[in-house]
């Protein structure tokens, strides 16, 4: 089949991507797209046709007394894309550059710890910072459980609440990383599409997750949120969360990659029963920590900061773990945690050096 070479190289696509992303990152993203195309769009029907084609070519070569194709030529042929694959690649690059569609949505998945998370707009894409602290927390909990079981007896599984679970990435990442049957993790989210996607991801990672995971749709800001949570699980040990923390003024300046694609409810904290479509950003809390403060209060209401209920005290494991948006927020967040019974706090930085997570402990 004759092909015009200019029409069938990756170079124009790379050039287009480079304008948006810079050369190095464009190369990386294009490589990941090509990997995806090879893995996901490997049309077996097409393959058979091309195999037939190949044997015809071979016969023609023998007939004309030409030498057999060299290894390099054969390899060249194998990396050739089918029409469907080309169409996908062109569409992907135009979505990426013109519509600012995030690569993770284009590829439809993102690895997160040991889990593989399936993605779909507008559910928040897991960030590497979240993955980083989640893994660090998992290591910490594993060490703790190990020392407990070394002291004698198998400890009961920890009941962990993942507030604002979104894709379910934190819940599933922890379920895959924690020692088998050391935790029961419940993911909560306000959005229907998030819960549906989280359930899909649970099914996708069911073989990897060594701990029980469940998802519930719930508005954590509703007045009876704490009683609903206690119905799900009467005794909570740890709350982890990547809650909305972008301030309204920051939201206006976000990249189109984020603003035009991801759910505003996952980014900017809003009061109970606000319609995100009609809300005036100027009316919202300017600090961005309103939801975190609410979460600290909720955590106290469901007994997480109460030593009597769960009997895990001290600084061996954190009881409330929340991601924050940098050093301006850590101080007020620490204060909010202290106000609701978490009498010791710690701040973790991420690999880029930003203050990223606040951990609240309950000391006796």
């Amino acid at each position: 089949m004759p092909r015009s070479p200019s029409n069938n190289t990756l170079i124009p696509l790379l050039r287009k991507l480079s304008e948006k992303l810079g050369e190095q990152q464009a190369k990386n993203e294009l490589r990941w797209m090509v990997d995806h195309v090879h893995a996901a769009l490997d049309d077996s029907g097409q393959r058979q046709v091309s195999r037939l084609e190949k044997s015809a070519h071979r016969a023609a070569r023998i007939w004309r007394d030409q030498p057999a194709r060299s290894a390099a030529e054969v390899e060249q042929d194998n990396i050739r894309f089918s029409t469907v694959q080309w169409a996908w690649l062109r569409q992907a690059v135009s979505d990426r550059t013109e519509k600012h569609k995030p690569l993770q949505y284009i590829l439809g998945n993102q690895p997160f710890g040991k889990a593989n998370i399936s993605l779909r707009p507008p559910v928040l894409i897991p960030r590497w910072e979240t993955e980083e602290w989640m893994l660090r927390l998992v290591g910490m909990l594993n060490t703790h459980m190990e020392s407990l079981s070394a002291d004698g007896g198998k400890p009961r599984p920890l009941n962990i609440l993942d507030a604002c679970t979104g894709t379910g990435c934190i819940a599933l990442g922890m379920a895959c990383g924690l020692e088998p049957e050391s935790a029961v993790i419940s993911g909560i989210d306000i959005a229907d599409e998030a819960i549906a996607l989280a359930e899909e991801n649970l099914a996708l990672n069911s073989l990897l997750a060594k701990n029980k995971v469940q998802f519930h749709k719930l508005d954590l800001q509703s007045p009876d949120a704490s009683s609903q949570l206690l119905e799900v699980q009467p005794c909570w040990d740890i709350v982890v969360s990547n809650p909305p923390y972008v301030t309204p003024s920051e939201y206006g300046q976000l990249d189109p990659d984020v603003k035009e694609w991801e759910d505003i409810r996952a980014l900017v904290p809003m009061p109970y029963s606000t319609d995100p479509k009609t809300v005036n950003l100027k009316d919202l809390d300017p600090s961005g920590i309103a939801f975190i403060a609410h979460l600290a209060k909720l955590a106290r209401d469901i007994g997480v900061s109460d030593n009597g209920v769960s009997k895990i005290a001290g600084t061996s494991i954190p009881r409330l773990v929340v991601e924050v948006g940098g050093k301006l927020q850590t101080e007020p967040v620490c204060q909010a945690l202290h106000d609701h019974g978490f009498n010791s706090t710690e701040v973790w930085k991420d690999m880029a050096g930003n203050e990223r997570v606040v951990l609240g402990y309950v000391k006796v």
Partner: protein, 414 residues
């Protein structure tokens, strides 16, 4: 025929030959210590070995084996004397060296005996008596088989024992002087090692690659399998190519180079890296991060502060996986440094054939117009360039290097 019966026949044959021709009996079984000097001929090969046909042991290897043999004799002598004068440590060392050396020396002595037998048999064959000749021919075939198995024993004793040599390796190829042609040659080398690995059943995983078409500026791959490092450890060095490049229009021969570095894969070797000595950076990260941006830039750099070694990786979409990969590269680098340090200490005292493995020296030349590959460290030339470049003949060179190196190490004992 049983062994006793066979030697009986031979003895009879010898007798008759001697009687007929009036030759003196050749001293067929010389003592182990004296055989080396007695048998040394001008070529450096022991007498009789030329009758054994194509041998995998070269003259230089025989030299080394003879040195080893005399060392063995000296050590055996010391052990047979009054061992009460030796300290406990000395005794332990000598007996260990002795047992190491005898693993090679015993089959070597047997080999020399076999060469002696061959010489006799050849004399009989040349003697002209038809009945004797056919018997001697038959006998010769058997001796030749024994010679081959003896050589195999010697070679297998010289094969890797170091645990690092059994492990996988990280192979790094960089184009040197020569511009595009050097990049093309780096690509050829990569191809060669890929094919060689395929024949050995090893798996290759790319770590980082800087290539355009056939031109490879710099590539780093991980090779997993048994004995990878042991086989490839001598590949480190400057590889030189002499050919008419594809980019040359006037048919002139160019000389270009590529450097190859092989590091042992440290996965199953214990080295200690303190967490506090490491600095992790998401090296293009800036700004607020977190929910504020949606980056696909997952590049990670790890710096080992005491040594100043920095490793970066951006192959994977997950920052976490990039970090793990970068860590394994860093571990391999640190391990290589440590290994190099230990090896340097040992190397001081020994006349090393293989060279330091550092990149400053030219180790091998690929001459396309003469269809020749020469390894300068052991002066070994192979006239099968195509076979080497497609990986099928590379093992001839590697085996030679391997053996020379092991012999050196053995003869340096004590």
């Amino acid at each position: 025929m049983s062994a006793a019966c066979r030697s009986g026949v031979r003895w009879l044959l010898q007798k008759s030959v001697c009687n007929i021709a009036g030759w003196r009996l050749y001293s067929a079984h010389p003592g182990a210590g004296t055989a080396a000097t007695a048998a040394a001929s001008k070529t450096g090969l022991p007498l009789g070995s030329e009758l054994a046909g194509k041998s995998s042991l070269s003259a230089r290897i025989h030299d080394k084996l003879r040195v080893l043999q005399s060392k063995h004799a000296v050590m055996a002598q010391r052990m047979s004397e009054d061992i009460s004068t030796l300290s406990r440590d000395e005794l332990a060392k000598i007996s260990k060296d002795l047992s190491d050396a005898s693993l090679v020396v015993t089959p070597y002595n047997r080999l020399l005996e076999l060469y002696g037998e061959l010489t006799e048999l050849q004399q009989m064959i040349d003697s002209g008596d038809a009945s004797l000749r056919s018997l001697a021919q038959e006998e010769k075939q058997e001796v030749l088989e024994n010679v081959a198995s003896c050589e195999r024993d010697i070679i297998s004793e010289l094969l890797p024992k170091d645990s690092a040599e059994k492990a996988g390796a990280i192979l790094e190829i960089r184009a040197g002087t020569g511009g595009d042609e050097a990049s093309l040659f780096s690509g050829d080398l990569l191809h060669m090692y890929e094919r060689y690995s395929q024949t050995k059943g090893w798996r290759i995983k790319p770590i980082s690659m800087n290539k355009e078409g056939d031109m490879v500026k710099e590539v780093m791959v991980e090779i997993l399998g048994r004995g990878v490092f042991g086989a490839l450890m001598f590949e480190s060095g400057v590889h030189r190519v002499q050919r008419v490049p594809a980019t040359e229009t006037q048919g002139r021969v160019h000389t270009s180079t590529a450097t190859v570095a092989v590091l042992p894969h440290a996965a199953d070797v214990q080295i200690e890296i303190k967490e506090s000595d490491l600095r992790f950076e998401a090296f293009r990260a800036s700004g607020k991060g977190g929910q504020h941006v949606n980056t696909t830039d997952s590049a990670v750099r790890i710096t080992h502060i005491p040594t100043g070694i920095a490793v970066e990786n951006q192959q994977e979409r997950s920052q976490h996986k990039n970090k793990e990969k970068a860590m394994s590269v860093l571990r391999a680098r640190l391990y290589a440094i440590e290994r190099e340090r230990v090896a340097n200490e040992r190397r001081e005292s020994r006349n090393k054939l293989i060279g330091t493995g550092s990149r400053s020296e030219k180790c091998r030349t690929y001459n396309f117009s003469q269809n020749r590959v020469t390894d300068h460290r052991i002066n070994f030339s192979l006239y099968d360039l195509e076979g080497v470049m497609n990986g099928s003949s590379l093992h001839h060179i590697i085996d030679q290097l391997r053996m020379q190196n092991d012999l050196n190490e053995l003869t340096d004992m004590g």
